[in-house]
Symmetry: D2
Subunit: 339 residues, 4 copies
């Protein structure tokens, strides 16, 4: 299955093509739009989120709510495009006077401008923006509807924001599904309140915060991925997919970094068998993946997202034209798909 | 560039092909063999390490010490093969009586046997074994010799073993290169001694330990990887390559999981410019990658390795033939490429 | 560079994404639209061609007429969609009573219906239709504008239609560029007239014709493609790209099938050198590719297109629901990109 | 499934890795060696063929005659290596005085030397040599043993050599299997004799000949390949695989180039159905592939091979060092896998 995405943050639209998706899979448009809406929520979201109300428009590969086996193509319109057309029109002319020349630390701005030799960093910003994750959310929603046919379901929730963190690991899938009721997607109402305070504190100081979220996938059969070749290992593939999300700086599976501190006897999950359950475990330190293959337990992954680079106290930078010191622009980056 | 590997742990040999490698690159055989030897070192290595003394044998793609642009093929012989031939001969017959039926928790054993329907878990063990990393070390050594032509160099060192950890981040490249002098590859002699004690303690208790290692790559130009597509991002590619190594459960870049706890003002690296240095930073919280693109600073990555699953106190498991409870076999897994 | 296409023949639109295209390439919209228009010409085109007037709409990757290095996404609207919406709406409901149940010989109809288990062959027709080549023409036009920066240009012309064929090989590039002036894209006005007669004759008899076209690419440097690996060979890649076009049943390079009849001394092109020209040849039997690598001469390829399967005398087939004999439907397939 | 090959023509060995091959497939070593032996036969083969007696040596992925699901790695030794070691040793030193400086027309020699900047064309010859097809034959034999489990079998035979050709299309699979009894692999004994005379005639005149061979694959189910995306079409994939074989200049499926001359009513294969046979055809003009998908009939492909470029009357060329006119070297190229 190939996933190819395109589109600029303030261009006409975002586009995605899923090639290799099976035929006969029923898709629920409301579910996809709900997932897109969910991406746009989150405590303290910026003004861009108020402008965009993302909706999937299928361009190919789906007929009467069923996939055709043909490539699934879709677009998500950028409502903000009308304000930007003069600056981003594919065929031009491009109005001058609004070039971005001050790369924001923490973004691809400088590296992108140097790599491609751009004088207007807007060319980088438009594609490196976290708004691109809207396409990935739509792809994920469609893929999730395929997996749901096999009773494989995923949930995600926020484990920490700044210094505030959930005290205990919650492994009950239904409990985790309640996370959406929290403004910060934390399953614990008290910790939710602390997180909100933590965010307010940072805001007052013109600063920003990151956090850690956890993904739990249940219903996974034994045997997804394979140990036979390095690039077939399920943990490696998930690590790439997640680390490539804007703002992610760390990925761990199961006990992750903690397992490097624990003893072997605390880390490996003894194997049991019963007629009713087949093979099963009483623990899940390995996060559902052993040797690069799913072992039938829930897959559990945590990702660390760094604080949003846009601060009200702007960071020091350099003008790429004049090479003079400057303050990073206040381009409000669209924050990432906090799950 | 394509990297394809093959070979069983106790089969005739391991094999690798690097397709797409440029022509005219001088390769140093001693460097590759040194890197293979280095993989086999480490405090408390098992008896297998004493048997194997890995050496690269080039089968194609190199002539007179120069690459030809043709695919580079090589093998690394398994000296232990002569003891295993009757059990692993490609054409058989296979001696019976030594089938592995007790999957080891923490390995691909159970998932692999279920996925492929094997009755002898040896079929899984032989390929999922960490001995496969010998091929990756050879590939890495060859790739490193290409990168060295561009003054890009990598070093790795051990940051923690069990509960013992290096107190401070060491960012001086030359200092890190001294890590090989330590039996546990830690740059601090006092911490080295503590790590050795930690290992002895675990051993006495029939237990095992994992640890965290750090990779630092210096001389990286601005612009490797790209933000334009999710699967071109350098951080994602590195995460896959590292997470797919046997025993790795976590990967973080720069401040990684810590950056999820810090403020934005502590996390993003202000940009400066001087005629001599070009663009530069005074900090490197992002670990040399912003927006999926190298930013010219050192790339810094940490990986968490779980404890080796082979314990003298064996773990509970199940016989896959009888489905009766059992104790995990004492197959000594070849431990992974601790850097 | 990755080329991914999507879209149904009578759906909302066709979509393409070109991922990996370089930045800073100037694109000419008129050229792309001209190439799309050219695809729709040809003597004896069906009514569908009158409905559609294809135009590229860039969705991403281009700004002010310059590529951004970001994926180039585009769509081509199907004007006919409004007549089909009730039958092809992504979300439905789908009107019944117009299911296609009679697979047309010569199309993917039967194989597609069996492969995917469709009861309505429309699901196959919509994607297997030669209208998909509109996306490839747009991709080709964009790629051609990149190649033109390096003075690499391609032309194509019709060599034969049915039994009528051009008597002599024309190798002058400028002469070939005049082919567009012929209604059947043949460089010779007399042969053009004979071809038109040949088509009329077949039409009168309710039959259809195929033909052979030739592509000539000039300005090609020595060294495109490589002999080092089977899937890097330029001839193999071109053969796949061309054979995958709807209706193509044969591909040959240079003297092609004739070279299997000729002697070696008539087939290989002696090598010469002069200060002005560098290496050059006086003959080009090999069609510009030796050992899978371009040799600096014009690349010359011929492709055989079978007659359009839609005849006024319909072909025998079987109803896939009733399994009763039937006559193939008169669905007018959009004919392929005759060059 | 990935197929990666490596190895030089007179180097230590040829190497292949098949990654993604299923587990539990029984492999027959004698069949593979027979297929390798068969590659080396053929009327008028050169002296190299007498030196090499190819045999497969499995390096990984097979145990007791069964595949493991792990990558299958193998080597084929070059017996001639001992005579070449001083010139081709991976680590050198390389004896001087035997550099190849006169590129042979019809080979990758000149293009390869220019592309990679080699002064010794031996670096090109060693990899571009048709001896590389030995690896492909082994891969094909292994793949064929998998397909045989599904009753899919392939045969090939020679249709023409030079001007002499088989008069009629032979479509009986068993009859085609007798082709191996002919010294030139032609099913007709009289035509065989004419072909031998044709070869002798060319030899006497210091010239060489090419020919056309046909591949027939029987037992193919409906539905291999797909019309949904250009690079999933079975005809395109086969065309690439075949055109990338050394010496092949044309590929056609079914009636191929002839279908461009015939009428539609002669070209498309009407569809019938019976309870016993399911869907079937009485004709097979399309060669078993419609719309890029197998249609259940035999797949029939013809390939044109140009004459071997090595002539006793040497061709004109240029010395790449001196740029003086020269005669092409008499390096006997290993002729290709005539089927």
């Amino acid at each position: 299955m190939r996933i190819v995405t395109a589109g600029e943050s303030h261009g006409k639209c975002l586009v995605g093509i899923i090639e290799g998706f099976p035929a006969h899979v029923p898709l629920d448009r409301e579910q996809i739009n709900y997932d897109l809406w969910r991406r746009q929520q989150g405590y303290g979201r910026g003004p861009r989120m108020a402008i965009e109300k993302d909706e999937i428009i299928i361009l190919g590969g789906v007929r009467g709510g069923l996939t055709l086996g043909s490539p699934i193509a879709f677009q998500i319109k950028n409502r903000d495009y009308e304000n930007w057309q003069g600056y981003l029109d594919p065929w031009g002319p491009i109005k001058s006077g609004r070039e971005v020349e001050q790369p924001r630390p923490g973004h691809a701005d400088l590296a992108g401008a140097v790599k491609y030799g751009f004088r207007d960093i807007r060319n980088v910003i438009e594609r490196s923006s976290a708004r691109e994750t809207a396409v990935r959310v739509a792809v994920g929603s469609i893929a999730g509807q395929l997996l749901a046919l096999f009773q494989i379901r995923a949930v995600s929730h926020v484990v920490s924001i700044g210094q505030v963190q959930l005290k205990e690991r919650v492994s009950d899938f239904s409990a985790l599904e309640t996370a959406d009721e929290s403004v910060v997607r934390c399953v614990d109402p008290i910790v939710t309140e602390e997180m909100v305070q933590e965010i307010r504190r940072a805001e007052r100081e013109g600063d920003s915060l990151g956090g850690i979220f956890e993904i739990r996938i249940t219903g996974v059969p034994i045997g997804l991925g394979s140990y036979v070749h390095w690039d077939r290992k399920l943990d490696g593939k998930l690590a790439q997919a997640l680390m490539s999300i804007q703002g992610i700086k760390g990925v761990e599976i199961g006990d992750g970094f903690q397992s490097a501190k624990n003893r072997g006897s605390q880390t490996h999950d003894p194997i049991f068998f019963s007629q009713e359950q087949g093979y099963y475990r009483l623990t899940n330190h390995c996060g559902g993946i052993e040797g690069g293959v799913s072992n039938g337990e829930d897959i559990v992954i945590r990702c660390a997202m760094k604080p949003i680079p846009t601060l009200t106290k702007p960071l020091e930078t350099v003008n790429i034209r004049t090479k003079e010191p400057a303050l990073a622009g206040v381009e409000r980056s669209d924050t990432c798909a906090v799950p």
